[in-house]
């Protein structure tokens, strides 16, 4: 493990009868930007909170920068945490929110003022220092929360569904911005998301979780091209099932004439989604699937609903059942 990174070893956590984490081990390299990706209830937020010290694991340990931090309180752990619903200090101005951690550390007034100014500039909130959180939009509040977390120069930055409460446009904007911020600040960052596109877009490394366990760890490209199992394949992108084979919509070729073992299907709908076209089909056995193709291809071959075509999967995967 690299010196500044995080290691989670055999962490288990249960809430009453519910097992949130069933023995999770993962290493996060120093300075990396890592996503914890999974459906709700997969344990990703619990894992993040265990790393922050906001939850105590029932078993296992957490190492931060090589030191066992399992028994260290969040207060002393040196992590910055950003909550989905911002957790803004409502009775404080933006400036005082950001300065909070520095005041607790009893820094000099001038030093605090200078650092707060710099951070507000970093998160593009220069003009908002004297506003209250209730006077900010969701995106601005979340940027304020980020500045507040960064103010204490944490060794680790943890974000729990940071963009989950924001609308789609702001969410896209903020995730680009988070990636750039990480390039500037270079603090080891872990963020939780259930949105595979968000994870793929922002993270260098993705940890896919399901049902309290880690399914796969890898780069966005690895996960998409080499999914370890059916769950990962289905979670990181759309999947069609052809018999025992799983195949991505863009890995199916549409043929106008029968050819060898190509499956017959009838086009149900052709949806134009801009550059790409999504063709929805019904197979002879009644199963439905979707194929992605380019607009040019669809127009050249005049694909339209009702048409009978033949489908040849290219690059299908088959996962042997457990």
């Amino acid at each position: 493990m690299s010196p500044g990174g995080i290691a989670v070893e055999g962490v288990e956590k249960r809430f009453g009868a519910f097992e949130a984490l069933k023995g999770v081990s993962v290493a996060v390299p120093n300075g990396s930007l890592t996503a914890l990706l999974g459906p709700s209830g997969s344990g990703k937020s619990t894992l993040l909170r265990v790393i922050a010290g906001l939850e105590q694991p029932d078993a296992g340990r957490v190492l931060i920068a090589g030191q066992d931090a399992t028994a260290v309180t969040p207060q002393k752990r040196g992590v910055g945490f950003v909550f989905q619903h911002y957790a803004a200090f409502k009775h404080m101005t933006v400036e005082r929110n950001v300065a909070f951690g520095l005041k607790i550390r009893k820094k000099q007034k001038e030093e605090i003022a200078a650092r707060v100014d710099r951070l507000l500039e970093l998160v593009h909130l220069q003009g908002f220092a004297h506003r209250y959180p209730s006077e900010l939009s969701g995106g601005q509040r979340q940027r304020m929360a980020l500045a507040r977390a960064l103010a204490v120069e944490p060794e680790v930055l943890l974000l729990d569904e940071p963009f989950g409460a924001l609308d789609a446009t702001v969410r896209k904007e903020l995730r680009t911005w988070l990636r750039r911020l990480h390039e500037d600040v270079h603090v080891t960052t872990i963020f939780v998301t259930h949105d595979q596109e968000e994870a793929m877009d922002v993270a260098q490394q993705i940890v896919v979780m399901n049902d309290g366990l880690i399914e796969q760890v890898g780069s966005p490209r690895d996960l998409y091209e080499q999914p370890a199992n059916e769950f990962v394949m289905g979670f990181v992108g759309e999947v069609n099932r052809l018999g025992d084979d799983l195949v991505r919509p863009h890995d199916i070729e549409i043929l106008l004439e029968p050819d060898g073992n190509a499956r017959e299907g009838q086009i149900e709908r052709v949806a134009h989604l801009g550059f790409e076209v999504r063709v929805e089909l019904v197979l002879d056995d009644g199963r439905r699937l979707a194929v992605q193709t380019t607009r040019q291809d669809a127009e050249e071959r005049e694909l339209e609903s009702g048409q009978i075509v033949y489908l040849r999967p290219d690059g299908a995967r088959r996962f042997v059942g457990p």
Binding site: A52, G53, L54, T73, P74, Q75, K76, R77, V79, G80, F81, F83, H85, A87, A88, F89, K90, H91, F100, G101, I104, R105, A145, R148, A149, A151, V152
Partner: protein
């Protein structure tokens, strides 16, 4: 349809205002009127009498001890009841409401049973030189008892509403539990606490039953304002009774006004 709803609306207002007028405003106005029937002299004299003054100060002492103690206890209990899970939580939650449910006279009797001469610890305390019953400590205890639930009950919903994310955020930023309480939790719940304090003060000011049982009602010694009012009244010193009643009413009114100001501030916040 509209006409009917108009009649309904005015009917409702008539009932509500009529009820308030008949049961609250008319009696209070009559007290006010009676007090100054013979000019300012008699009521002022009654209030300025040593017994009257003593009653006034004793009331302030009882309120001044009971309300701060109940505030500290109330905020602590609310934090425990909202933020912690433990066995017996439901029981504690119910016990907090006991003073609402039990008649003040019964509370007074209960205090007698514990601290009275023949009570559970009464004799031991008297031997130690502490007289609780028929003395100020007993009256303070009775006041604490009856005004206990207000701060807890007003603070709990606010604590629930703000959640604990802000506190968690403060802890990840390096704040200790104590720092988090003073800098984050208390400022967030301050209006709820203030509202509870106002209600507790109003209740403590006016408490008659429980205090009456434990006081022994020695004029100039164990008489709070409400007891003084009753005493003057039964001694046919009506001017004194009315005057003290007015003072009490003014204190209560000031507290209620304070409460309304707080409410307005809370809405703005």
């Amino acid at each position: 349809m509209r006409a009917a709803s108009g009649i309904q609306r005015y009917g409702l207002r008539f009932v509500a205002l009529g009820y308030l007028a008949a049961l609250l405003m008319v009696p209070v106005t009559i007290v006010l009127f009676r007090t100054f029937e013979d000019g300012l002299g008699p009521p002022l004299e009654a209030i300025a009498s040593p017994d009257g003054q003593h009653a006034f100060w004793l009331t302030l002492v009882c309120v001044g001890i009971a309300v701060p103690l109940n505030t500290i206890f109330g905020v602590t209990a609310a934090l425990v009841l909202v933020r912690h899970e433990f066995r017996g939580k439901a029981i504690l939650n119910t016990i907090v409401d006991l003073p609402f449910a039990i008649s003040p006279v019964v509370i007074g009797l209960a205090l007698l049973l514990v601290y009275g001469r023949n009570g559970w610890v009464g004799q031991d305390l008297i031997d130690a030189g502490i007289q609780v019953i028929f003395s100020t400590p007993g009256m303070v205890l009775a006041t604490i008892f009856v005004s206990l639930p207000f701060v807890v009950r007003e603070t709990m919903p606010v604590l629930q509403e703000i959640g604990d994310e802000q506190e968690q955020a403060a802890s990840t930023l390096g704040a200790s539990g104590w720092q988090t309480f003073w800098r984050i939790t208390l400022p967030s719940i301050r209006w709820g606490v203030a509202y509870g304090i106002v209600l507790a003060t109003a209740r403590a000011l006016g408490e008659y039953g429980a205090v009456s049982v434990v006081a022994g009602r020695i004029s100039g010694q164990t008489e709070t304002l409400p007891l003084f009012v009753e005493n003057e009244f039964t001694n046919f010193n009506l001017a004194g009774a009315y005057a003290a009643a007015i003072v009490l009413a003014l204190l209560a009114l000031a507290v209620l006004l304070g409460m309304n100001l707080l409410k307005r501030k809370e809405r703005e916040a």
